[in-house]
Symmetry: C2
DNA sequence: CAAAAACCATGACTTATGTCACTTTTTTCG
DNA sequence: CGAAAAAAGTGACATAAGTCATGGTTTTTG
């Protein structure tokens, strides 16, 4: 499954929509496409950056590990998203691991190609700056949630986030398969605690389960619980 | 105390060092300087952005409040730092309050002036992008700490961060005065819990107190405790 | 297909941390 | 200065959430 970068979903999102077809081809002249199987890593924490990836299809979890081995999911990367440009631009080793949560495709853009491109293209830098600022405000929001809210409230928040990010499948469930341990890593809690809360949310009819997937039945109540509205 | 923007400490840091004197004066043609007393707000969460501030002297805490009124300190802004450009560029209302933790001075740059400037100056956008990417990786690190570490570990981390950020006074203490409640907001815990931990750190001789201030006596042990090294 | 591995679930127990109530110390300010 | 207000500190107690142990499912794979 080879596709040109001009058709890459990347263009539909973020700063790349500013570029015309020829520019995209320039940027991607050295591109390499790659298949990544579920569970495989695209990046590992601590690596030096040799380029960035843009996700073509499939979703990735971006995680950070503590010294004691505990994992936290910081965010997801979806088709059209870039991975790795932050570390590259900040001149730091990669601070997050990227792991495919389903079979995926991504294309690679070498560091020097991207950097040259950015240097010659002011509006593009500005657009990417805007996107990064937006992400920063999301990161701050998450930060405050972790510091201020209970595990229960954060789970409510996570459900709403997942629904917004992954839309619905044919049966009205959130279109993503996460393990219990991954949901726990996302909420920032222990797997057992998460499982207990899932049972409680189901009893309280905030969510319904369909096999391994979840359907949000009471988004408003979840939002109230998460203190997002009154 | 009026100073020209060309001398503003802002220039020594971040992207502004790229600009020559004339450019700085252009950018600051509409500047307004302001005194802010300890405890006063420069921004309040939810406001729309009309411009950004650069801090000239004094330090600000940038906080976020939960629905239940609890406050979290997300970061500090020091002389040379900008406040408000993230929200401006992301086209969002301000997501953090900025409160002076000591008497301070800041100068204001209206939104349109900054935006025009960015649009006409690609290298500057790129440089600001680099700075923002760096901040993002710091935010992610903080996020993982909150999710993975105990209050004790986070306090150790906070001490090391404060020492790096605020340097030392004549007596070797960290050169900043924070209330207990503010330290708690920084660690993400209750004031009482923080106070107990301070006593414990002192007993364990990790820190020493001199009046209201702290001296780090065992930075290495703190780093081990915080799981930053082995 | 069967065995192994991975994952999900639940109960019992421990513990870190938050909450409340109160005293002591420090700071503010008329 | 001295009263009032704010901040620091301490103890007792409540509880959210982590840990450990175990058993039941589902998924993988040789």
């Amino acid at each position: 499954m080879e596709s040109t970068c001009a058709n890459c979903p990347t263009r539909q999102k973020t700063a790349f929509r500013l570029l015309d077809g020829a520019q995209v081809e320039t940027l991607c002249a050295f591109k390499r496409h790659g298949h990544i199987k579920k569970g495989e890593e695209l990046f590992t924490e601590g690596q030096n950056v040799r380029g960035i990836y843009c996700v073509q299809d499939g979703h990735f979890k971006l995680t950070r590990h503590s010294a004691s081995g505990r994992e936290t999911i910081v965010r997801f990367a979806s088709p059209g998203d870039f991975i790795g440009y932050r570390a590259l631009l900040a001149n730091e080793p990669i601070s997050l691991s990227a792991v495919a949560i389903q079979d995926a495709h991504a294309c690679f853009v070498p560091a020097d190609v991207l950097l040259n491109f950015l240097e010659g293209n002011g509006p593009f830098s500005l657009e990417l700056l805007r996107a990064t600022c937006h992400e920063l405000s999301e990161a701050n929001q998450l930060l405050a949630s972790l510091a201020q809210k209970t595990v229960k409230q954060r789970l409510a928040e996570v459900f709403l986030m997942l629904r917004a990010k992954f839309s619905e499948d044919a049966e009205g469930c959130i279109d993503i398969d996460l393990k219990r341990s991954e949901m726990a890593d996302l909420v920032g809690t222990a797997t057992e605690s998460l499982i207990r809360l899932l049972a409680q949310f189901e009893r309280d009819q905030l969510i319904a389960r369909r096999g391994k997937r979840f359907r949000i039945t009471e988004p408003k109540k979840l939002a109230v619980l998460a203190e997002l509205v009154d």
